[in-house]
Symmetry: C2
Subunit: 389 residues, 2 copies
């Protein structure tokens, strides 16, 4: 299997954007090409686009071809869109990664994009329901917030996790986002603001939830030979893992505060990378809700099971702590434009491992991780390194 | 790069189905598992689902997870949906192929599914328009039938192709479908019926077009070691190629009767397989309209440029001819449930190369090809062989 590296990355401004799908694609694609001047669009052999619901939000399928044409790319090896709800971007990176690792391509762009805001907020929220089983759950109101609220309630009952600990993650990620010019939110937040924000699904309050965001991000993957010729600082894909416990909530193991498929996905990725959780210095973790970051830091092995609340509240997942989690602001601070999220996570790790993250920089970070899930029972983990192995 | 083979395949009944997305997934998944009793659902390490617009037609994203749960699969290596409009199924096969070739997985199911028929025909037709650029073409009526009609008109002007030759492809594929119990149409057709059917977009008449169809299909891919342990008759992936000229019609080379990206995709696939076009004995070609099969047989190298009309009319693409094109009935006779088409093409080649195609069998076929496009300027080609190399 060949080695594969990220050689370029760019992110569009996340937020409530007066921009079309094509506008967002242009913005992220241009930022990505600008990051690696040695690559012209016509050099890129393939394009994978992670996007969930352009059929609903832009009345448009066939997004990878639209994006290729918009960016001047003429795929000669691969072109496809990937969808896996909130993890659509990371499964897109894995498509390109497998192609290059197998020797089927050398230089591929992966772009994630979503335009979720609609003329009415109600339409936007309705659309988000397509990610949950329609026949058995979404139609009865069991969409994402109540699912994760159930996990939070269980975690509080089982491990004594507190509202203040749930709030600590919201404060951290809102404050991180304030240092990221591409984030949806820029004002930061205090614990009082988080705990005083309105209840969405008990115990999760507004500032503990990711918002409905438009955005796009892009990265370029290259084979080892090409990577070394294109940049002095490639960021290597060291490991990857994906695992599933179930789709519907009713199919998951009974204790929603434990996510065994994340443990398995992480184990696969760590084993492949030849590292342990302790070696990860910077991590982009899927904080669709604050409880998700708390449980994920446990299952990823950054702290013990049940210790995720105190771990966050003590600042161990912030700058100066054990591992910096979500320095770009995470889904809560940056927003969560579904297909774009996994790619934006990779773009942040790319910047961090190259020392180019400005005020968000984790000093001398050499190993980074991204975690992207598409429900409590489905997880994908990537590990990146400044060194190839 | 590791060798990869198909070890199982199954197809659901294509047609206007009183069945949900989940029903169609069950039907194709069960047929596929039944074809290879040595595999239980829990042995499968991954699932890729090709599907274009479940967001519109079933108000459901996240289809690969829904399908995994429905089929009892617990992905431990990969799970994703792929979309590339009409080629969504084949790009799904390529995702699984790359994963196995790279050594990232050993046993992966690829399932294609689409439920296109809606309570009103108008809604179904409207949905199909999402595959064409909405802002610049679809909104002005330039959907698939007029695009391919323009290609037909140009082919007639340039090479003297006749309506009778266009009809010959419709007759062949409708008659082939009559031998396929899973096809949408079962009655066959005469040249008088084809030429007497109503005009859709001049010169393309109803029986020269693929219908709006519901359906699903599944195949299982395995690494060499696993394949040899599971079946005595694996069908090997020998080559693959994908290329793009452009997405919008206005971006394509001026002569719509020439499809240079298909030539390039085929060249890549033939080179990788180490074969020439002459060695292909059975081919599933993307006949969304009869003109598409005529042009594709030229660009694939089955006949000379401009000779596709006479080639079909003389029976050279039928049983007993140079190469049997679309023995299962093609998109015209079987129907075209977008995401399912590419996977059903692979399932047919699997049956043909194993000598299991019953009344449709091409005697002693050892090399087969599938061609799947998502517009005149975007093509993907796969080559399969009874022998690994």
């Amino acid at each position: 299997m060949r080695k594969v590296a990220l050689v370029g990355a760019g992110v569009a401004k996340f937020g409530v954007r007066q921009a079309s799908y094509r506008d967002l694609i242009w913005e992220a694609g241009k930022a990505c090409f600008d990051s690696v001047p040695a690559i012209r669009p016509r050099d890129v052999e393939g394009l994978v686009v992670g996007s969930v619901m352009p059929e609903r939000t832009a009345f448009q399928s066939h997004i990878s071809s639209m994006a290729a044409e918009a960016l001047g790319i003429k795929p000669s090896a691969l072109s496809a869109r990937t969808e896996h709800m909130c993890a659509s971007g990371t499964v897109g990176i894995r498509y390109a990664y497998a192609f290059i690792a197998a020797g089927l391509a050398d230089l591929v762009m992966v772009l994630g994009v979503e335009k979720l805001n609609q003329p009415t907020g109600q339409e936007a929220i309705l659309n988000m329901g397509t990610g949950v089983d329609r026949e058995w759950e979404a139609s009865f109101g069991l969409t994402a917030p109540p699912c994760f609220a159930l996990a939070a309630q269980r975690h509080m009952a089982e491990y004594g996790t507190t509202e203040a600990q749930l709030a600590a993650v919201g404060v951290k990620n809102h404050n991180h986002a304030a240092k990221n010019p591409n984030a949806h939110f820029s004002k930061g937040a205090t614990v009082e603001q988080v705990l005083g924000s309105r209840m969405i699904s008990s115990p999760l309050r507004l500032f503990m939830c990711s918002p409905i965001t438009d955005g796009a991000a892009a990265v370029i993957l290259a084979s080892e030979d090409r990577a070394r010729g294109l940049t002095d600082a490639p960021v290597w894909i060291r490991g990857t893992g994906q695992a599933l416990d179930g789709f519907t909530l009713s199919s998951l193991p009974e204790n929603y505060a434990r996510w065994p498929s994340l443990v398995r996905a992480a184990e696969s990725a760590y084993r492949m990378a030849g590292i342990t959780a302790r070696e990860v210095e910077v991590a982009e973790v899927h904080d669709c809700f604050t409880i998700a970051e708390i449980i994920a830091t446990e299952e990823l092995g950054f702290c013990g099971k049940g210790e995720g609340g105190p771990f966050a509240a003590a600042g161990r997942s912030d700058h100066g702590g054990d591992v910096v989690v979500n320095p770009r602001g995470g889904l809560i601070g940056c927003g969560h434009p579904l297909g774009a999220t996994g790619v934006a996570q990779a773009a942040e790790i790319f910047a961090q491992l190259r020392g180019e993250a400005g005020p968000r920089q984790v000093p001398r970070a050499r190993i980074g991780l991204t975690h992207n899930n598409s429900g409590m029972g489905e997880h994908v983990v990537m590990i990146y390194g400044r060194e190839a192995a």
